[in-house]
Subunit: 335 residues, 2 copies
């Protein structure tokens, strides 16, 4: 079952059984398998059952009527009609690319969408068309605003991509939480401490106890700065697009009381708007940084996206390793 091609067929079959058409099911399957290949297992197969559950509970619409409204040659607004996030985002990034190819810049705001997986996956699509790109999305409450002792912002990634003149795109896709919740869960399970400055307990006190951290809140990177960046992403992807915001995005695993109404914002630009030789310039930029003297133990200075690309290449021809519990889910969903 770990073979990519076969796995793809299984996922498509499962999603079609849940009401998606072949095209939409294929879009989702590609995104899920890509997450596995780049090693982002928390955004891959482990979510398939959740998506199906949400469809069954009618909080994801398997047959959405997605409306694309043209605001100008450069700007489009999308109402995703509670589609699964992958489909809304796929349509959105393709529209942004189209607009940018036509006018130099493409701006697309999407509302009534859901969790779309990895921002970097959509950024890559634009970069492969030789475009510079920003992707913003919000997410369910996970980190506390600076000064608060309750989570409200999602891990709200900032994602930026650019062509590099090599085959490996520069894709910065960084959440604004200090560490992933998954890592705190693992530490709690193994009775290990977490670093300082990562989380607060439920009383709002700093803690290095993983269990207390899980009951409390995660902190944004760099205090007030990271909190501000998370807030910015909430505004851009939620307030601006018409999506939910200010802590109102529902947790997809726990809250089936309604659709998530996540918002996404995609902004795409042609790299040669201001200079004729962007490709040479970015190549030179990366070269200068890579040849800096390194600190002890560092073999190579990597640009964002490089190590992900290496994991992807390494995993591409290997069997995808599926944990027993997820294999069991797949079996049931496919029954």
């Amino acid at each position: 079952m770990g073979n990519g091609k076969k796995l793809n067929q299984i996922i498509i079959k499962i999603l079609k059984k849940n009401g998606l058409n072949t095209n939409h099911a294929t879009i989702c399957s590609k995104a899920l398998i890509n997450a596995e290949l780049v090693g982002a297992h928390s955004h891959g197969l482990s979510r398939l059952k959740m998506y199906c559950d949400r469809i069954q509970k009618k909080v994801i619409n398997p047959k959405p009527k997605i409306k694309i409204k043209k605001i100008s040659q450069s700007i489009s607004r999308i109402d995703a009609n509670n589609s699964i996030g992958f489909v809304a985002a796929d349509i959105g990034i393709k529209q942004a690319i189209k607009n940018a190819k036509k006018t130099g810049i493409g701006l697309v705001g999407i509302k009534n969408s859901g969790h779309y997986g990895l921002s970097g996956y959509y950024a890559e699509q634009a970069v492969k068309k030789n475009l510079i790109v920003f992707c913003f999305t919000n997410a369910p409450p996970a980190i506390a605003p600076h000064g608060a002792k309750k989570s409200l912002f999602g891990t709200n990634p900032i994602c930026f991509g650019t062509p590099t003149s090599s085959k490996v795109p520069f894709i910065l896709d960084t959440s604004v939480s200090v560490i992933n919740r998954g890592k705190i869960r693992v530490a709690a399970r193994n009775g290990k401490k977490i670093p300082e400055g990562v989380a607060l307990d439920k009383f709002g006190k700093p803690t290095t106890d993983a269990k207390k951290a899980l009951a409390g809140v995660q902190l944004p990177i760099a205090g007030f700065r990271g909190s501000g960046l998370a807030w910015m992403v909430d505004i851009l992807s939620g307030v601006f697009t018409g999506g939910n915001h200010g802590g109102k995005v529902k947790d997809p695993f726990d809250d089936f009381s309604g659709p998530q109404n996540i918002g996404h914002l995609f902004f795409v630009m042609k790299p040669n708007l201001f200079v004729g030789n962007y490709s040479e310039r970015i190549k030179e930029n990366i070269k200068r940084i890579k040849r800096l003297p390194k600190i002890k133990g560092v073999k190579e200075i990597l640009y964002p996206g490089q190590s992900k690309q290496r994991r992807y290449k390494k995993n591409l021809n290997k069997k995808i390793n599926i944990p027993a519990n997820i294999a069991e889910d797949l079996k049931k969903l496919n029954a």
Copy 2:
């Protein structure tokens, strides 16, 4: 001399003596005094002598022929002809605002500029016209890329602004270094330690010794994440616009071997592109975050820009305090 109005006249006189026209001198003076009023003294009067020195050494052009080229209704390219940064940025943000008012979005790339002071100052101009805004600029080497033991990125601020429906704009203007170099200098002078994770010594080893840190390098916020954000800003404001990049921006205080050729990128959007009620939505967003339970010792959750605005208001009717050495500079420059 600390009175704002009189100070303004003195600065204008000094800059005109250095060859700037009244309009350009006024733009600079306003920006410098604003920096003092918001408490960013490192971006205020302490730089005036440096600007004059650079003009005298012919690495700032006091009579620039600034070329604005229209790429589309939304996009403009500016060659600032080595003007003082304040002037280039002022023209640039006004152009971006104009484009956005016309088409919904304005994108302006500026090259051959210099240090422009505070990004937030330009963001505010756009927000006051009821627009959402990004400002990016690069700067001389100050922080080391992740894995390197030599500085290359500037403190490269990320600046984002939005109207709030109140009189106080949301202006996030955050450098990607952990702490300001100025703070390390103060610690070194007072023989105090700096926090862990802030800097490396010249051998690339983490240090809490402020003097060793000054001889070494500063670190970006959040390790690889902050390094990626600094890299992103270098690409957007340098590689993309035609400005210097990859560590080539000269230190304005130390390096008079040529112009800085700093690049700036301004991106401005109408808030009502996707929703009809942005103003209500952002108000609700801020309200939800402000009413969260607070950690001990925190009286109020502030949004980015609020405390700066409070400092500004407090200082507006007070005498501007000018340290003796800077007063001496002003006296000499005004002689």
